[in-house]
Symmetry: C2
Subunit: 676 residues, 2 copies
Amino acid sequence: MPHFGDVTGPALEQLSADTIRVLSAEGIQEANSGHPGLPMGSADIANVLYTRFLNVDPTDPTWINRDRFVLSAGHGSMLVYSLLHLGGFGLTLGDLKDFRQWDSKTPGHPELGHTAGVDTTTGPLGAGFSNAVGFAVAEEMLAARFNTADHKIVDHYTYVISGDGCMMEGVTSEAASLAGHLGLGKLIVFYDDNEISIEGSTDITFTENVNERFAAYNWHVLDVDGHDTEAIAAAVLEAKKITDKPSLIVCHTKIGKGSPNKEGKASAHGEPLGADELAATRKNLGWPADGGPFIVPQAVSKLWADRQGQWQTAKAQWQELYDAFKTANPEKAAEFERTVAGTLPENFRDALPEFEIGKGVASRASGGVVLNALADAVPELVGGSADLSPSTKTLLTKYESVTTGNFAGRNLHYGVREHAMGNISNGIAIHGGFIPYCATFMVFADYMRPTMRLAALMGARSLFYFTHDSIFVGEDGPTHQPIEHLASFRIIPNMTVMRPCDANEMSEALATALEKADGPTTFALTRQNLTTLDRQALGLAPASEASKGGYILKEASGGSPDLILLASGSEVSVALDAAEALESEGKKVRVVSMMSMEIFDAQDDAYRAKVLPADVRARVSIEASYEPKWLGYVGLDGLMLGMENYGASGPAEELADKYGFNGPAVVARVKAAGLA
Amino acid sequence: MPHFGDVTGPALEQLSADTIRVLSAEGIQEANSGHPGLPMGSADIANVLYTRFLNVDPTDPTWINRDRFVLSAGHGSMLVYSLLHLGGFGLTLGDLKDFRQWDSKTPGHPELGHTAGVDTTTGPLGAGFSNAVGFAVAEEMLAARFNTADHKIVDHYTYVISGDGCMMEGVTSEAASLAGHLGLGKLIVFYDDNEISIEGSTDITFTENVNERFAAYNWHVLDVDGHDTEAIAAAVLEAKKITDKPSLIVCHTKIGKGSPNKEGKASAHGEPLGADELAATRKNLGWPADGGPFIVPQAVSKLWADRQGQWQTAKAQWQELYDAFKTANPEKAAEFERTVAGTLPENFRDALPEFEIGKGVASRASGGVVLNALADAVPELVGGSADLSPSTKTLLTKYESVTTGNFAGRNLHYGVREHAMGNISNGIAIHGGFIPYCATFMVFADYMRPTMRLAALMGARSLFYFTHDSIFVGEDGPTHQPIEHLASFRIIPNMTVMRPCDANEMSEALATALEKADGPTTFALTRQNLTTLDRQALGLAPASEASKGGYILKEASGGSPDLILLASGSEVSVALDAAEALESEGKKVRVVSMMSMEIFDAQDDAYRAKVLPADVRARVSIEASYEPKWLGYVGLDGLMLGMENYGASGPAEELADKYGFNGPAVVARVKAAGLA
């Protein structure tokens, strides 16, 4: 049945694109849910990209040197699934039929790690575009590190399809500006310019000149008919020639192309065509009236089978190149393979610094020391800040910066672009070959929150590094003082949050974070000094215990507490002061340092019950934040000492006094609550 | 002492700008904290703006028709405080000396409502710029409503000073694109282009052509020497002539201008000049060696006293115009005064709709009905969506859209620009005259989180309206299914969050939100249908009880519960089902609908203890989210049923089954926990 004739050349390419259109519309109709407009509108672009340019290996979908493909307009997921079916990535027609169903390989939006051939999770608009900038940066950096004069083992493109929505999102602007600055010549973005958004024509809100805007960002801008295969192909060739600028290929398309009554209309965007319109579309595109759904014309199957053969040939050539590289550079190759596999160097923990006991050092400062020490032992550790490295202390001082045309460095400069920073950093993490960190003030985490969620959802080893973590920022005042931010991080599933109480916990924290290969970690670090605890002299547990997340830092006299004080970060010393005062009055007080709630919660019941015995209900948490999660430790009979409102501008010590975050104030509040 | 000679003309203007420089540097030096670079670099711009153009009334700093001034680069706050001192807004030299101290009128960043003459809270970069777009939109909308052919009672400009950081932020791009689209001719932005960021020259990350970028957004772009008073003034005059485009005046400046050794350097940005450099600066600018700090030359005092006289004259002219308007249009004037005062129409609640009992209606749909019903009664209610109104159901169907050149409508179209939407909406709210709502899918609240915080911090009556509030979004999958979002809203101080369980609670919710004049409200509304409860037949409490936040929806048999089920939104019906099943087995089960935790928590102890009696510890919360705040209600002995990880793509009913959110599943989980 699926024999539509022996077409060749342009007619075959058209038939292949139309196959993508029909399969996509059929999957969406079957699910009775989805977005046919984009897959149908950009089928010609995607078809020419996959059949003529994209260099991948369906039998090895995570091949490090594959070209990356990002559907930034992730709602058009059926486009990807149709391509992956045709390309032989293991999606069957049955999988396409299962679109958007429970446990299928074809979920509503593309999900990294869920479907072979999907390079990143998209859906939130602009995220894919900026992930792609991260891919392009990572490619340049990996190439700069490992390529030799004879062996360009890293040499791939990053292709993106973006829609109008992506172009409107601010994160795209940020990422595009940085990509233009860095001159990322191997980044090629197709802008599916269909002039339709959900509320109607883009004329109602989006009349800027996108071409000129991207030219202002230092992009190479091309403008083509997005249904003209040869024009698209010529544009890609021209884009590849320009090696010092990213390219934007503006493709004028019709949304829902092929649908006789919905083409060019907002109604094609976000709902199934409907059975009648789908039938009309099939007829319009020459599909046989008596053919069932989910069929692929034989000539199209042959076209893609041939393409798979080309991919195998290309991959074999690369493998040959790689083998030669490995023979000539065995150590370099081993390092390449190690970093691409995401395996840490053995004994990297030996590089962890020791800190002088008793000295006051802000955790942002000790963090910088640990980061720099580990940078020597872990070459794949790279990162940067959103124009705050002198304050976040995150510059890797022995290493160069990545600059336009020189990607051998390890310090990235993101500019004041937090949102793009997060997505670019995620892109670097999931590209492979690097463990990226990105830094800013904690209150500005709000700007990059969507990227923290995506990192956690994708299981990306991204390190989110936030300093100035409480009201103790001081004089900058409430706009710069985190209150709800710790809580906001700790509710993101698969995010580990660490707030070390001193320099030695900081060492343990960063090492532990690096060891978490399947998800991101967020650090909360102080602006103000913290005393490096003299654990031996004070009878405190060693900082290595912080690897359990929460631990008994100071045991109550006699070992059986009347009262447990729990704290994190800068408030641990407050808890110790309060405990000392209460113990001097004969109370038995345990102090728990809760470096990471997520890690503590993952310990076994016995350990958690040892730290927080069920029968000790006099429990007080101390953290200069608004964090309801402490309620899960202190319960209805305990007390949560935190911040219930915004802070104020003033010196940090004065704020500590006003808001009750010092030993005497805590003692008074504990007594007032009848807990001591 | 403060007599520096009888200068006039350009020399006096220079002296006035230098006074701003020195006062700013002195305040920062005194605080030993702050950012002198911007105030010194943009002193000439600010001086010419305030002394020649800005139309304000220091004796009536919230005058509705004042020109708005926004220092988007809020870290340069001493610039504002110096201007407000000179302008007679009530800041004394002592207040300037108190910069950044506890309880002073001069906090680290400008705070709305804290310091007279500050029009918005700034600090998070880009926020001020986009607030300003909101001001300009509000001005046009208010003018379109109330101005008559004879009386232009609303007719003001919005001026902004933005730095390089603001220009890099994506939110600025979004807001600028929309401002260009709408042709906001009375928005005039000075770009303090000093080419310095914290990490060094902007060359390291920011080499785009800002002028061309803004031209691409349909802005009128001018380029001047930012230290040439006449050039700046000429640019403002030219900007005012262009009435159909916003204007960007690119001002080339030297950061820290006037400091002999720090001018033009990153070191001038974010720390005090130091005593020696301050002394050198004073000398350089001709300040007397024997004069103390915080002095104002007599000629400068005279200049500003004259300016205050001009302001009084201008204000008197406006008052005359307004009085004539009021005489000619008494009803219109009354309505103008009411909306500007933020007072709701009397009896607006009479417009609340009644919903058909027993019918299934999504809260997004009932929300749309309530919104439309209230729109008739509350003309100041305006708003829009980030290109999702067909899905969020937030279009005011009887009213026009705001379009380029026509601001008489009430529906705003923000495009896919969530972050700008939030800040623009806040700008509309704090401009006065309107109560704005802004809508998108709940998962995209992450994009606009910084704006939710600012609304709460400023006490702005902004309504954040989020639909698709749980995994029951269904097929769109985990990128579109909120998990941690409800929790993320409920931790923002001064944010009220409402999640109604049916259409009648929805009515109560929106009315209650409108009545909260001193802060924002966030709505969490379903995509899926909710049954409008037949409260009488089922013996349930009336929906009006929802005004208490949480209430006993269904009392346990006999009135004394063994078990309390707490739920919000779509899970309330699950709780009712579970309660019915458990009651049929002889358990006594109370169901609490927690429409709003914040409102419930604000009730008195007696009420809260009545709803949640201290001795009933068998408590189970049911909400398809990850929300630690429930722990504060259920305690260590209770059970929190929620989502601990991301959802999945699939039909909503199937997800409910898989994740245990239906009556039988809840019963089983409650029993397994030994609570029934």
